[in-house]
């Protein structure tokens, strides 16, 4: 196996969709034929397992692997639904200090020997858990929503990543509502990209199907229809080097709003 690429999904602010994004990018990359490990570094508040629907299969976790209680292979849970997808879960009964950045570098380097992509879910905040999650990665994707608080925290994290030598972090704007953007009640993609001055790797619409798929423990990328699934698939294609145009969120518009638009478009 060749040398893999490690990507951290981070945000600063909590609740913007890091874990959902990690689950979908990991699954999407596996669906494209890659061998992928998704790693949950949110020790004490593990969630990637439930979003992926693998919570009942956990035996060992990241702390067990790092402390040598089990071999790396034993810690990795193979997802039976998607060929090539593996999860390394966080520990639930420990805290962030159970793992050091040096141990993370060693772990990520070992994973790179086995996998094409390592997608790391970062905890919220900028403390040790965050520092662990960015140790040993080549690339960082920052998830934000079009809210002032999330964009502010994203800006802070961009500064921290750059000071840690992770250059050119890329932006994922999550939960865009086209109807609100159109009314001028939500910052649009250009507004946010302009303010943060980083490259965009994808936009995800606010989509009910995310909630539904999370309820079921099945990443939305597994479906064909939802716009959010297309959005995540596009991100995965871009990661593998393909050029894909940004999603046109306008297609999300309902018939009623189209009629209203016609009435007022003189």
């Amino acid at each position: 196996m060749g040398i893999g690429k490690a990507i951290v999904i981070t945000s600063g602010k909590g609740g913007v969709g890091k874990t959902t994004t990690t689950a979908n990018i990991g699954t999407g990359l596996a669906m494209l034929g890659n061998k992928v490990a998704v790693v949950d570094t949110d020790i004490g508040l593990r969630n990637l397992d439930v979003v992926l629907g693998l919570e009942n299969r956990i035996v060992y976790d990241i702390v067990d692997v790092v402390e040598g209680n089990c071999r790396l292979k034993q810690g990795l849970i193979r997802d039976k639904r998607f060929e090539g997808l593996y999860l390394l879960p966080a520990a639930q009964t420990r805290d962030k200090t159970a793992v050091s950045p040096e141990q993370m570098i060693e772990l990520v380097n070992k994973l790179k020997e086995e996998f094409d992509y390592i997608v790391i879910d970062s905890p919220a905040g900028i403390e040790q858990g965050f520092k662990n999650s960015i140790a040993g990665v080549e690339e960082a994707y920052i998830v934000t929503t079009p809210e002032i608080s999330a964009v502010r925290d994203a800006d802070r994290v961009i500064g921290l990543l750059e000071s840690q030598g992770i250059k050119n972090p890329k932006l994922i704007i999550n939960r865009i509502r086209y109807d609100m953007v159109k009314k001028g009640d939500m910052m649009n993609v250009d507004d946010i990209v302009g303010i943060l001055a980083v490259d965009l790797i994808g936009i995800i619409p606010d989509d009910e199907s995310i909630v539904i798929s999370t309820n079921k423990g099945e990443p939305v990328v597994f479906q064909d229809k939802p716009l959010a699934a297309k959005a995540y698939k596009n991100i995965c294609s871009r990661i593998t080097g393909e050029e894909v145009e940004l999603l046109n969120l306008e297609t999300n518009e309902g018939k009623l709003s189209k009629i209203i638009k016609l009435l007022f478009s003189k």
Binding site: I148, R152, G184, M187, D191, I195
Partner: protein, 95 residues
Amino acid sequence: MDLFKIFGKNKNKSKNVAKERLKLVLVHDRSDLSPKFLEMIKGDIIRIVNEYAEIDQEGLDIKLTRMKRDSDDSPMSALVANIPIVKIKDDEKYT
């Protein structure tokens, strides 16, 4: 044409309010990341003002702050400098 334009509400769209507030808050956040920036400005100001007046360098205070613009009350970032002057230098050479 849409309803918002008819009622003339498009000027105060909430996203523009968000953008303005965000830009200001980021000026502060970003400057917090480099205190070096303020130190450099401080050094240059001392050097220039010193040509015209003797200043109390200990009492010098420079900070980035938020205030409202006089003309339209819109919030803005301002560099506020408080420079205690001990003595104006002989101004003959400037006249």
